[in-house]
Amino acid sequence: MDLQSNLQPELGKLEQIVSQFLLKSLHIILDSRVPSLRPHDRSGDLSLGSQVRKSDKWFNLVLGDRPAALDNLNFWHRNVMDPMIIDVILVHQGSNSPSVALGGSVETVIERWVVQYEYPRVVAAQTGESSAIHKKTYKKSIILLRALYSQMRLLPAYRIFRQLSTSSRTYNFDIIYKVSSFSDPFSRAEEGMMEEYSFPPVEAYPGRLCISVTYRTTLSDFNLEPSTSMTPKIITDYVGSPNTDPLRSFPSSGKGVSATSFPLRGVQAPAPVPLQRPHSWTSGFHRAAFSAQNQPFVGSPPAYYPSPMPYDYPSPPAYYPSSMPYDYPTPPTDIHGNRVQHYRVPTHQKAIGYDDYQLSPPFSPSPSPSSPSYISNAYPMQTRVRSETAPVSIPLPMTSRNFRYLSPNSSDPNRSSLPPLSPRSRKTDPSSQESPSGITYFRKIESLRSGEMQPVTANHYTGQKVTRDSKDDSGRFSGLLSSSGSPRIGFSRSSSRLSFQDELDDIDFTYPFDVDDVDTSDFHASQNLEGKKASEFTSQSLPIGRKSQDAAVGELVRMLRTAPPLRQDPSCYSSHSMKTELEGGVATASGFFMPRKTVDALEELRSFREMKELLLSKSGRVISKEEA
């Protein structure tokens, strides 16, 4: 008993080293392979001066904030003896299906990392002082993890990871991962395409720490390329409301919307845990273009839900007696009872001889000091996600590449699909983050207009004018023309065209395509102006429902252009050539912006035409692109 009691502190230390080693290696691997898990862009400019979490100092390798997925490890990987198998999975198009279609995705394991603490059947006699042994183990683990970090950058999969994570383009593939304590062996064909590399193990008496990888030697077999769907195009003449809601939804079309890899946001409910796989979780979220059924959604919910864990422990090996300061129930059975019986974190621990290794934290009673904080961090993230994410089926990261992405939204006509706010306006408008604000504003307009004009059946927003925030000079309007199944047209104006905006500041112009998020104060101020125009709208209600969307837009444009000018400027767009060009459905209200150069307007027209073409191509029609 005395021997065992002497062993306990040492074993506790070893257990801490091993579990932190597993955690660190998982962090390194996921950080270097799964773009969606990267909490921030680690440009490498961060100096050590900035505060480093204690938990991040393990093995003297500061990696930055851990993804919440790693918090699960503490809960999951109770048993340090179990191997931790990390599958890096490439989600890509099947070779047979040339186009991206739902259900056409294929998942291939391109790398399989196995990190484990190998415990020998026969424990050799300990030679030397255990603290010295642990020191050596720790030092060698540092080197091994450095090597792992470097190796991650030399293997073929790193290249595609970099493509996904750094490029602003969208691709037709994604990388997800799966962590498990066991794995299905590779087929012979797969094995033939893979090579294995094992790092020399680190002695960690009584066992040793091993890392090995089986990886695909080449990824050129896969058709990995930028997504062929409509590329997001910056509309230089976009004019939108300053209080516009961010674009919420990018519903998938048949062509595959955008090949972004979703961050792990726990939007979907977890699949039930199959009993035969108690120790695994995966990142199953990827683009809508891929079938949901193909997700290797085994086991736990996405890792961003640190708790509660729906795991069942049917018969896990028990290495931790109930005095464990972990926050999950003690496993009932003890499989390896004859082996390590006292893998218990000691209640009192001192960093014996490890201070010179800058082991921070030193071996402490609490297992992972930062895990509670990570959990708490994850929650605000979740709530933040929820408040930001519109109720759409496909949440997208709010990245710039999704900005101004035009796509038909057939799911909800009331949902405003608007470009994100400009930074300034985002700050000033507290309601901008909420999607319902646009809708409520809309309904307000509707109620106001109910007496003035006939309700438009299919085209909700048509004919309604939204006051432009005259105070805003951020230069963003949102033009919406939506109904079920109809495309949205966004007009954008870059900030470089602010001078144009300034001229309009004193005009209470109501832009018919504006949908929402205009300050109510401005709205009220422009009532009289709207009242003027109301008659025109009522007399010329748009033909909707029967005619095509383009025709509706064209009608609207005609209406606007025939409206009395706000300023007397004969050089407005009244030329027939312009009109005919606009017949195709490109809407513009440029005529109202006066004075204005013809060149500007022509440029705007061009951009509108491009928009139209993009929309048409989106809807599957073949159009000839006039410009690249």
Partner: protein
């Protein structure tokens, strides 16, 4: 304590590639030997599709760059030669201090020899002038092939480094104390045999 020596694979490089290649190799070695607290920094090479890891320490970067410049100037003075640069790690041992002698002995515990064969320039130029009419310059293809070969060799060298640092770990001394990034004392030199042969 024995001194482990690692002779890295020969690399055929052009003059303008020396800087990047050496930076990559030296930083990789130091990264695996700087066992103090480190925030790794990924650096992409411009000439090759290779990413290596630095320790993220500005001082170290400066020091390495200085040595590389020194090496390049040496190579310029001695063209057409096999060049070698040596990165050595040592421990500082104070011999018993006497009144007049305060010997500080360096005990080298690891040495890395980076072997470079710096190719000549004229080849590239001549191919250009001869094939000026040809649309696809065969010299260009050759360059591309050469570049790919160098990249592959560089990767092999990096793998070699990783393998070596992992296989030989027993000789690494205890990590010295200190704040921030801590390195084992090291020096970068051009071996004497090369210096004297000029």
């Amino acid at each position: 304590m024995n001194c482990e020596v690692c002779q890295l694979k020969d690399l055929e490089v052009e003059h303008f590639e020396i800087r990047e290649v050496l930076r990559c190799i030296l930083h990789t070695i130091v990264f695996h030997r700087a066992l103090g607290l480190v925030r790794p920094k990924d650096v992409d090479l411009e000439l090759f599709d290779v990413t290596y890891v630095q320790c993220g320490d500005v001082e170290l970067e400066k020091k390495i760059d200085e040595k590389i410049e020194h090496f390049i100037s040496w190579v310029e003075k001695h063209p057409n030669k096999k060049s070698q640069i040596c990165l050595s790690f040592y421990e500082v041992k104070n011999k018993q201090p006497y009144w007049f002698t305060n010997k500080i002995e360096r005990l080298y515990w690891e040495q890395w020899y980076i072997n470079l064969n710096v190719a000549q320039h004229p080849k590239a130029h001549s191919s250009k002038s001869h094939n000026s009419k040809v649309v696809v310059d065969p010299g260009e293809e050759e360059r591309i092939a050469r570049r790919a070969a160098v990249e592959a060799s560089l990767r092999e060298v990096l793998f070699q480094i990783i393998k070596f640092v992992n296989e030989k770990k027993d000789h690494v001394p205890p990590i010295p104390n200190g704040d921030g990034v801590v390195y084992f004392p090291h020096e970068i030199t051009i071996p004497r045999k090369f210096l004297s042969s000029s």
